[in-house]
Symmetry: C2
Subunit: 366 residues, 2 copies
């Protein structure tokens, strides 16, 4: 016993000296050396943008959970110069990870679309329960795995407004020839009902709406839209149906992930998961604040929902397009995703209807 105690004491003394003398080399202790790592993350939105919040939150979480061993550097779009290049950057290993929106890659693979926002789809709590309890994540991995990428939920901007209108939509007739900014699948849906879809650069949206070059502009929701000044040049703000929850995503290079220690893999995975939830919590607050500003500062803006016959026609057109996507899929994966999504929506919505919806409709607030 005595000799073991002596050996242990001297060992502790040696370790302590080593830690002080050589810790900046990061190679003394097996566990420490494999945990010490710096990654780079290519951003789509910057640190200062609300949609960039999941990335700054991730940096903070990974740093504090690892005791400073695991660092993530954010690479701003001003540096990498290609917000639509995140997919390839991460795939090629130029950066270990990226943050973006899954619908950006719909032209590479139509199945990526379903992990972003789907018209007439789930609200955010329903969506997260699909991801984590209803098989959504497994399907997302199947899709991104085909492209040599890992993908994780990256924060939800919640419900999106269908946007700023200068013409009132009273019937299906009013959609014919309406000049509207609306990218993606929702744009295709509206096009099917006669809308003229025009998507100029974001910097030109306000001017286009002011000049009549556009009659309507969809963007995100109050938390983001008010900064673009769209309220100053619009008459109506219409509630949405095209993006009831809008998930961003983190992409990770699998070879880089494999090189991480098991502990750092856990830290990264759970920090992404927490950053995503926190981003939704933050945007709920921001949308509330900005909706209050809108009502106070722009009392002339009229809030409206599309009439029921327009909603039914949009839903029908959307179903047609989604079914066409399923038909186009050669490996059956699109159909598998749609089936899983619909099954989960049925399950979660029956509860949403008898809980939050019934409550919001029947009970006045405190």
């Amino acid at each position: 016993m005595h000799s073991i105690h002596k050996i242990k004491s001297s060992i502790i003394a040696i370790s302590t000296i080593l830690a002080i003398s050589f810790s900046h080399h990061g190679t003394i202790h097996a566990q420490t050396s494999s945990d010490k790592v710096t990654w780079q993350l290519a951003q789509t939105w910057g640190d200062e943008h609300l949609l960039g919040y999941p990335t700054t939150r991730l940096v903070e979480l990974v740093d504090s959970l690892s005791g400073g061993n695991f660092k993530i550097e954010l690479i701003n779009k001003k540096v990498h110069k290609n917000t639509r290049g995140i997919f390839d950057f991460v795939k090629d290993g130029k950066y270990q990870m990226g943050h973006s929106a899954s619908n950006f890659w719909a032209k590479k693979d139509q199945d990526t679309l379903f992990f972003s926002a789907v018209p007439f789809g789930m609200v955010t709590p329903e969506l997260y329960s699909w991801f984590y309890e209803g098989g959504g994540i497994e399907l997302m991995n199947k899709v991104y795995g085909k492209h040599g990428l890992m993908s994780f939920p990256g924060g939800n901007s919640g419900h999106q407004m269908i946007g700023w209108f200068n013409k009132e939509i009273k019937s299906l007739e009013d959609l014919k020839g309406l000049k509207m900014r609306l990218p993606g699948l929702a744009g295709e849906v509206m096009k099917g009902l006669g809308v003229d879809i025009i998507n100029p650069p974001v910097s030109e949206l306000k001017e286009a709406l002011a000049s009549g070059k556009l009659d309507a502009v969809e963007f995100v929701g109050p938390a983001i839209d008010l900064n673009l000044g769209l309220a100053e040049v619009s008459k109506f703000y219409y509630v949405g149906w095209h993006s009831p929850s809008s998930e961003m995503h983190f992409m990770v290079n699998p070879a880089a992930f494999k090189k991480l220690s098991k502990k750092n893999q856990q830290i990264l995975t759970n920090a992404m998961r927490l950053a995503a939830y926190d981003a939704f919590t933050k945007i709920v607050n921001e949308n509330g604040l900005k909706m209050q500003s809108l009502l106070k500062d722009y009392p002339n803006i009229v809030l409206r929902a599309f009439p029921q016959d327009v909603m039914r026609a949009l839903n029908k057109e959307n179903a047609k397009l989604i079914n066409a996507m399923a038909e186009k899929s050669t490996d059956g994966l699109t159909k598998e995703i749609i089936t899983s999504m619909k099954k989960h929506l049925d399950r979660a919505r029956v509860w949403t209807r008898f809980s939050d919806q019934a409550y919001l409709n029947n009970a006045g607030a405190l």
Copy 2:
């Protein structure tokens, strides 16, 4: 260079041997020794109970985020024998932490009530944005700090149903003399409208409803209620207003927390935060599944909401009771919490109304 290299090599060799030989003593490396710790958590609900899920998730997260250094042992109620003793267990340092519901401590301090569930209050995304973005956590710390405790959100069971009824509620008259199980503030609200509140042990609820000893039983929601067999002895299932989001909480002993390494403090805090979010995600799914079972297996159960005049009277009675609590508070903290809560509810609700509520009311599902 050569000699440094040699020293470093032998050091690495020694460290490796040490790590293998003595790692179970946990004292070799300064950083490791301070990170290696085992805590005990006193549960209110067991591992097998859905409401116990945040605790099993926490154990898993803390273990994996710390690379196995930080362990939490769950102490089941069968061992500590007092589900209503968690507050004192943690305060006295018998266990480093506990998991429970804040409304259990309303007799010790009425302000604890507001961090659990408030009638006519916020739905879950609104509540989390109050906690983390609207000052809710700071107020919770003020309340629990007075009692020498730290408290953190511990998972939300979402919206709760007002329960299982054998008498239909068509008007305020139907509440008079209704024998109902409904603990807490909501019970006081119903009592104010003439309801006879009787709270037998949980194990007797089904029998009491079957025999007519009770006319109505509030419990949680479909995910929990169906296990009690209440559907077998009821005619109506009424949607709620008394608990639109029901937060559990983790309590931590501050002296124990202070002794943790900074890294472990971060791991614990963020693991609790993630476990809480994940619990809500899980229960959304479970409530959906069980609501589907209810509709399928008990087609005779009628789903109903209270009529508007009953809802208005309940809201008024609730406001009266909450204002009385504010008056009773000697240090003004109750008023501070209610003011903060109402301010946040106004902010978040204006967005909920124009987003999820409008969408759920106007748009058919996919």
